[in-house]
Structures are given as structure tokens and as C-alpha cells.
Amino acid sequence: MNGFRRTLSALVRTPQGAIGLLLCLLLLALTLFGPELAPRDPEKFHFTARFAAPSAEFPLGTDWYGRDLLSRVLAGSRSTILLALLATFIGTVAGAAIGIVSGFLGGRADEIMMRLNDALMAIPSLLFALLILSVLGSSSINAVVAIGIAFTPGMARIARSVTLQAREFDYVSAAKARGEGTAWIILAELLPNVISPVIVEATIRVAFAVMTLATLSFLGLGAQPPSPEWGLMIAEGRDHMFRSPWPILVPGVAIALVAISFNLLGDGLRDALNPQASS
């Protein structure tokens, strides 16, 4: 816990870290209470107030059915943010496991695993996700799985390179000389030292997952109507974009805000966990 508190205090001392942490905490609150906070029913049509600009009644305006955009964005926050976190979690755990094991084993096994991994990385991640979705079919949860799998090779590469660095330390040699088992060396010696760069990378990837998830929904391969998923809201708003920009602007800004928050938090964490900066 000592280390956690130290990291936290170092984090809030960097400007990006402080802002990022604040925004991410706010977003977390939104995710938990967002739908309850919505002032109106997100699905309720208000035909008298279609394409309304922001006003006291509809703080962020309305869409082509006169639905309250603020309520819809709040309702969509849970699915967007939680699903992005889930996708990142899948990619991080799978990638870190592959990367750490491969880096620790070294030699031939590492060579083969990384060659395969590199080939997977040669498929751009959006394309990879599209390919997986073409197998699984379009849905939110399939999009999550697809992004998780598409993130895995990149995460594996990072975890491996950090593991290779950590493996050079003599505490690993000391453990081997002591006759420790592989499980102890990986879990007790390497993992605690590899985890922080992986967490930094994962945080930044949440931003990326939010954007990719929205992109997939936009392309019609993720969430399906009438879900208030942000990417889908933009896709639907495109038909009316020359009449009112609000149905596009509001979810667009929401996506950017979430992405910025996690990018800031990730960069702040990177600085806070950097051993050179802390000394």
C-alpha cells in the first residue's frame, strides 16, 4: 500500500496526472450513476422539439426524434466506458501473460511466440477487429471481444520488452541460483516489476478502446439501434447532419472527453512511475 500511496502522490503532482485522475474519477461516477442521473427518459420522443439547440429544457439539445441528447449520452456512458474497460482488460491480461512468459522463457520458445505475435501485429488492429467481428457477428459484446483480441499482440510485445529488461536484473539470477521454481520467478519476482508499465499502457489503451468501440458501432458492427451507444448515435445523426450538428457534436465530444481523460491519466502515471523522475 506504501507504493500505491507514493504513486498517487507523485501522480497528482504532475498536471496531466491530476487533471486525468479527476476526469477519470468523474467518468467513473458517470458510469455508475449516469443512467440514473439522466434528467429525462433517453428514449422518449419529443416531436415538438426536434433538432432543438441547447436550452434550459434540453441542456445539450435534442435529436431528430426530439430525444434529449444529455440523457442519451448519460445513458450511453455506461455501455461505452464499461465495455471499453472490459475490452482493455481482456487484451491486457492475455497480452501480459503471453509477453511475460515469452520474455521469461527466452530462446527458441520466445522466438516462435514473437514471430507469430509479430505476424498478428502486422494486421492493423481495426482490421483485425473487423475480421473477428465478421466471424462473430455484429453486437456490442462481440465488439468487446474483438477489441480485446486485437489489443493482445501489442500488449504482449510491450510486456515482453519490459520483462526482458526486468530479467536482466540480478534478483532474477539470484532466484534462479537459489533454485526457485518458474512460477515463483514469474509471479513473485518479475510480475511486480513488470506491472507498472503494463498498467500505464493499459490506461492509454482504454482511450483507444473507447474510440475503437465507437468506430465499430459507427460502422454498424457493434452496438445496434436503438442503443444510445455514442458511435451509433453519430452514425444515425449523419443522416441529419446538415439540419443540426448537435446529434453528432454531443456524442463526439463525449468520446473525445473520455479518450482525453484516459490519455492524460496514462501519461501522468507514466511520469509518476518513472524511476528516474521519482528519485
Partner: protein, 687 residues
């Protein structure tokens, strides 16, 4: 006081940086001057802010300045307050600096020639033959062979010693008035460092340049400086002519520093090393009257804390201490022999560990490489035979890359080998848990060998869990306490993490971890390098105590020969993977030596008013590690090379009746007739 002869004059200079914890004093009330043609040595331990002084002179401050006051005058020009643009004409032109790590001081995308030329060009130098030939002249000046070819090379294509020469050439290129040396030889091997120091001395004589030579190594400073200033906690505590200061150190700090340094004459005089190390000086909070008050054995608040203790000016031997010289007479340490006599057979006849023709090869030749006839196999250890008796300390010495650390890792079961390994007379077929428990290793750098995420308690419990399975959880806690006691650390350290400990304390934890298994052999791989002299002395003392308590045999690997007399019974010298000499510790003081050992002994500088060291310097280059050496490995650099046979025939292993072994073509009798490396300066008066 403003002497026009002073190239550099620092007056009442103070510097502090702003930090989260408050204002940190870096340099405090510095008064120093360097005369024309003078070499001033600045010595201090880690954290003494000695490098900060060089940075301050260069106006390259690394922190956020909170306060800066006083003067730094270069021939009367005040440097404090000059901005970067104004300093451009001074840096490299009037003051040059040679930094510690030459390997990273050169731009990897530029040729060496371009480096020198751009420096000359920047400061408007030229000659009739053009910049290129001027640059070649300077490369020639620093003794680089074939300057024209060197001009076209890149940094990665030359050796570490050559890079440092290039840096030296650039420092001299604009004929500066002052050169700052910031630990210029610390990253180099002893034999390489020695030739570079010689080169600098020669160039300094020729050009008459003044220099500030910063080092933690008092031996190096004593061989190069006219006068020496000792820095502690950002203050100069003593300043005197070099001979004077080393012969008669006065400040308690200087005394303790010198008392912990081993000397070649220790064997004769029976001198023991002082192990009391000085605490870190306070940097934050109220300014102490005397900066050394916290560590000083003679500290008397009523006398010492009345006024700020300053370095007196205008005296030849300035000491920042209010006490008289007589009051500080050190109680003489007990004079029992320092060199350790080990009688084989006194405890047991079977060696606890024996190596027979042990070899280690690294790497494999790739498919493409083998097609082109290139091998990338490194013969790290080649046909080494050794034995180690119970309770004995065998020192393994050699320079970086000689295979000593590989040998250590091999014995610790980390590297596979060819040849035979015997433990207590029976062959070791596989490195198993039983072997691992009996043979433990302590690594060089505790920052690397102690997992930063584990508490000291966790670190010490692991070997107990693995090797002493009968202990239950509570017994393990008790045992951890006992282990900490054995390495003289408080028991509550079990709850701490490595980063909360000092360097010496961390190394004690690493030693305790090795002790936990109750081993027969502990391999100490450079365990004292990187530590300050006093800490090194106390770790050495600790190892001796452990050995006499438990009878553990030690393999002590080091590149530092000076400390051997205080620890080792026998010395094995390695060169390029081969064991070239094996001798008893008291044979260290007289021939015969292997020609390499001779040069190595001569290259290690020491502060010893009782001994004169004969100068032997090595030239020539080392063969590639992937080459299979047919003759003698040392042939390319040997000053006593006999002829063709050295290159084509493997040298025979000669041994004397008392167990001294030398692998050389030169007859042992003849080697015995060489002049000793060390000459005793007070032989007559002592006997």
C-alpha cells in the same frame, strides 16, 4: 587576495536547489583557486557534490536554483550570472570538460573527425593546412594510431579507451586555460586508465594547462594533482599540497577517508582498515556550524558549534576545523598482521570445491554467419582448474571481460559448462537443490540483486523456505532477526524495503541472504565495487568475521587489487577467460609475476607514503573474444614478449614447490629476477 596568477578563483560560492522537501544546499561557502599550470584534485565520496562544482563552473546547473551567491572568476571574469550565449565562448574554448562516461559522450551519427572539426570551427580555430589536418594533429597528440583513419570512424567503431582519448583531444583542441575532469577514468579498466593518466600528465606538462581533477579515487588523485581539496557535504574541509595532505591529513574526515584505504605496505606494517563510515551530511534545514559535526569523533558542542567553521584562507595547509592538530591525534590501531596466512590442511584436506578443466562458451553461430565462416561463440572461460579449501578466501582478479563473473555465475549454477566440478571430493553431475544450498552467490549491485518490490523480511525468508524446510513460520521470523544481527543490521529492518537502505546496508542484506542457507561456499562477485572506501572496508571486515565464525570458504571476485591484502589467502588472476596465475597472498609483494599481473599491480594507484610503485604500462590491443587463441592470450600486449612462440604455442603451466602457478613461456626463474612492482621507501628505518 586577487592573485593575477590564478586561472580560476572561486570566492564564497554557495549554491542551493529548490526541491519538494525544501531548499537543498548543494555547495556551501566554497573558496578555491587554481594557479596557472596547477592541477587541483578534488576528492570526496558519493554525495559530496564534487561534480556539482564542475557543473557550476561550466554554468550547467542540473537543478532548479533556489539560491546562488559568491564568485567564480576565470582570469578575473565573473562566470556566475553569465547566460548560455555568453558561456558559448568560454565552454570548450577557455574551459573544457572531460566527463566520466566517454562511451556516451560522442554523437553516434557523426564521425570522430567531425566532432573535433566542429569544436575547432566553433571557436574560430584554423591552420594553414586546413581544419582537417589540425584535427588530425590533435588526434595524433593524444596518441591515437593512424589519425587519418580515426577521423572517418564512428564512436561505436572504437574502444572505450580510444573514445576517452578523442574526448581528451577535443578538450585540448582549443588550447583552453582550464580543463575540468569529472571522474574521467572511473569507467575504464585499471590498465587502460593508467595509460590515460600518463597521457594527461604528459600533455599537461607540455601545454601548461590548469586543471581541476575530480575523483572519488584518492590513489588516482595523488598520482596527478599538485594540490588537493577534500569536499564533504558541499563544503571544502581541507586543502593542501598533495604530498602534504596525503602524508599528514588533518581534518577528521580526511583522516577517516585515508584510514579506510588499503595500501601496498599494509602487509609489512600490519595496518588495519578503519571501518567507521561517515554519515551523509545534512543538506536541508538549519546550517550546522561544522558540516562534519554529525560524524566527528572529536565533536565538542561547546568548542565546535560556537561559530560557523570556515576554511581559513591564506595558509598553505587549510583545515576547516577549530581543534588543534595535536588534539586530533588518532589512537593507533592494533598492529597485527593484515595479510592472512592460511594453512591448508589445518581444517580439512578435501577441497570443498574443485574445478577441473572448466570451460564456458557463450552464443551460437548463426546459419548465415557460418556460411561466411564467422563464428560468434565467445570462449568466456577457458580450461580453468582451481580448488578451494574450507575456511579459505580465494580472490579472483582481472579486468572487465576476463571471465571472472562468468565463472562466478557458472559456480552458482546459472550457466552451463564443460569440464568437471567436484564438491567435497564428489563430482557434481547436476546443479541440484543440495548444491545450491551449499554454494551461495552475492552479486555486485544490490540495487539489482534485491527485488525492489520485496521487503527485507521476504528477501531473507525465501532461502529459509527453500533450504531449511524444518523451520515453521515463527522460527523463520526469529531466524531473519538473527541473520540481520549477523550482518550488523537492526532487526526492525525486516519490515523495510531495499530503497529505504543505504548502499552498504543493502549489500549487507544480500550477504545475509547468502548466509541464510548456511552455505559452505559464498561467491562474492565484486561485492565492494561501487561502494565508498569506508563502506568497502566495513563489508570486508564483515566477510572476515563471517568466515572466522562459520568456516565458510569465500571466492572473492574483484578488479580492485588493493583490498586483497585485507581479505584473501590466495589470488587467482584471469585474463581473457584463462587462469594465468595462482599465488599465495604474500607472494603478491615479490616476483615472480606473470607479466600481466605485474602490469595490473602497477596500474592500480594507491595512496601509500611508504611505497613507491614501478610504472609498467600496456600497449597494443586485445584480441576479439570470438577468436580461438592459439598461443598466449596476453601476447598482443605483453611487454616481455619473447617472440613467435608466444603467438603460436600455448604457454606451459609452471609451478613452484609452494604452489605458485604461472602460465607463461618465460621461465619462472627469470620472472623471479624482475624488479618488484613496489619498492619500500622506509626499509632502513623500519628494520
Amino acid at each position: 587576495m586577487s592573485d593575477t596568477d590564478n586561472i580560476l578563483d572561486i570566492q564564497n560560492y554557495s549554491l542551493s536547489y529548490a526541491s519538494k522537501a525544501g531548499e537543498v544546499r548543494i555547495l556551501d561557502d566554497i573558496d578555491l583557486h587554481i594557479k596557472r599550470g596547477e592541477v587541483l584534485g578534488l576528492v570526496g565520496e558519493s554525495g559530496s557534490a564534487k561534480s556539482s562544482l564542475a557543473n557550476a563552473i561550466m554554468r550547467d546547473l542540473t537543478g532548479k536554483v533556489a539560491n546562488e551567491s559568491g564568485k567564480i572568476l576565470l582570469c578575473g571574469t565573473q562566470l556566475v550570472g553569465l547566460d548560455d550565449t555568453a558561456m558559448q565562448d568560454i565552454r570548450g574554448n577557455r574551459i573544457a570538460i572531460v566527463l566520466q562516461n566517454a562511451s556516451t559522450a560522442l554523437n553516434p551519427t557523426m564521425t570522430i573527425g567531425d566532432h573535433v572539426i566542429e569544436t575547432l570551427q566553433q571557436h574560430g580555430r584554423d591552420s594553414a593546412e586546413g581544419l582537417k589536418s589540425l584535427a588530425e594533429d590533435f588526434l595524433n597528440l593524444v596518441g591515437l594510431p593512424d589519425p587519418a583513419a580515426m577521423m572517418k570512424r564512428y564512436a561505436h567503431e572504437v574502444s572505450g579507451g580510444e573514445k576517452q582519448r578523442v574526448v581528451l583531444a577535443m578538450a585540448f583542441a582549443c588550447e583552453p586555460e582550464l580543463i575540468l575532469f569529472d571522474e574521467p577514468t572511473s569507467a575504464l579498466d585499471a590498465t587502460t586508465a593508467a595509460t590515460l593518466l600518463d597521457l594527461f600528465i604528459a600533455l599537461q606538462h607540455r601545454t601548461g594547462v590548469s586543471a581541476l581533477f575530480i575523483s572519488h579515487d584518492l590513489g588516482v588523485v595523488s598520482s596527478i594533482a599538485n594540490s588537493v581539496a577534500v569536499i564533504y557535504g558541499g563544503r571544502i574541509v581541507e586543502h593542501a599540497a598533495s604530498d602534504e595532505l596525503f602524508k599528514e591529513p588533518r581534518h577528521p574526515y580526511t583522516r577517516s577517508l585515508l584510514a579506510s584505504l588499503p595500501r601496498p605496505s599494509d602487509t609489512r606494517t600490519g595496518r588495519q582498515l578503519a571501518t567507521a563510515s561517515s554519515r551523509a551530511a545534512p543538506r536541508i534545514g538549519p546550517v550546522p556550524a561544522c558540516i562534519y559535526a554529525g560524524s566527528c569523533a572529536w565533536h565538542e558542542p561547546s568548542v565546535c558549534d560556537r561559530d560557523v567553521v570556515r576554511l581559513p584562507s591564506g595558509v598553505d595547509h587549510a583545515v576547516a576545523c577549530v581543534k588543534s592538530v595535536d588534539a586530533l591525534r588518532q589512537p593507533q590501531l592494533a598492529g597485527n598482521p593484515a595479510a592472512r596466512v592460511f594453512a591448508p590442511g589445518a581444517t580439512t584436506d578435501t577441497p570443498v570445491l574443485a574445478l577441473q578443466s572448466l570451460s564456458v562458451n557463450y552464443g551460437r553461430t548463426g546459419f548465415l554467419a557460418s556460411l561466411r565462416g564467422r563464428s560468434s561463440v565467445v570462449h568466456a572461460v577457458n580450461d580453468v582448474s582451481l580448488s578451494l579449501s574450507r575456511g579459505e578466501t580465494l580472490a579472483l582478479v582481472g579486468e572487465s571481460g576476463c571471465g571472472k563473473s562468468t565463472l562466478a555465475k557458472t559456480l552458482a549454477g546459472l550457466v552451463s559448462f564443460d569440464g568437471k566440478l567436484l564438491r567435497s571430493g564428489s563430482p557434481v553431475s547436476a546443479i541440484d537443490q543440495d548444491y545450491r544450498a551449499r554454494v551461495q552467490i552475492v552479486f555486485q549491485n544490490p540495487d539489482s540483486s534485491l527485488n525492489p518490490r520485496h521487503s527485507i523480511g521476504t528477501i531473507l525468508k525465501r532461502p529459509l523456505v527453500l533450504y531449511r524446510k524444518t523451520l515453521n513460520a515463527r522460527e523463520r521470523d526469529v531466524e531473519v532477526g538473527k541473520l540481520l544481527q549477523r550482518v550488523q543490521l537492526p532487526e526492525h529492518y525486516a519490515d523495510r524495503y531495499p530503497h529505504q537502505l543505504s548502499g552498504g546496508e543493502k549489500q549487507r542484506v544480500a550477504i545475509a541472504r547468502a548466509l541464510a542457507a548456511e552455505p559452505e561456499v559464498i561467491i562474492c562477485d565484486e561485492v565492494t565495487s561501487g561502494l565508498d572506501a569506508s563502506v568497502q572496508a566495513s563489508i570486508t571486515q564483515l566477510l572476515r568475521t563471517i568466515q572466522s565464525d562459520s568456516g565458510t570458504a569465500l571466492i572473492f571476485i574483484t578488479h580492485d587489487l588493493a583490498i586483497l591484502r585485507h581479505l584473501a589467502h590466495r589470488v587467482a588472476v584471469m585474463y581473457l577467460g584463462e587462469l594465468i596465475e595462482l599465488m599465495d597472498i604474500h607472494e603478491l609483494d615479490k616476483p615472480p609475476y606473470h607479466p600481466y599481473t605485474e602490469a595490473l599491480l602497477s596500474s592500480s594507484p594507491s595512496v601509500d607514503p611508504l611505497t613507491l610503485t614501478r610504472r609498467i604500462r600496456l600497449h597494443g590491443s586485445l584480441p576479439k573474444r570470438t577468436e580461438r587463441i592459439v598461443g598466449c592470450a596476453f601476447e598482443s600486449r605483453c611487454p616481455h614478449r619473447l617472440g613467435e612462440q608466444c603467438a603460436t604455442q600455448r604457454p606451459p603451466r609452471q609451478s613452484s614447490p609452494d604452489g605458485h602457478e604461472i602460465q607463461c613461456h618465460i621461465d619462472m626463474q627469470q620472472l623471479s629476477s624482475h624488479t618488484p612492482v613496489w619498492r619500500d621507501l622506509e626499509t632502513r628505518t623500519e628494520t
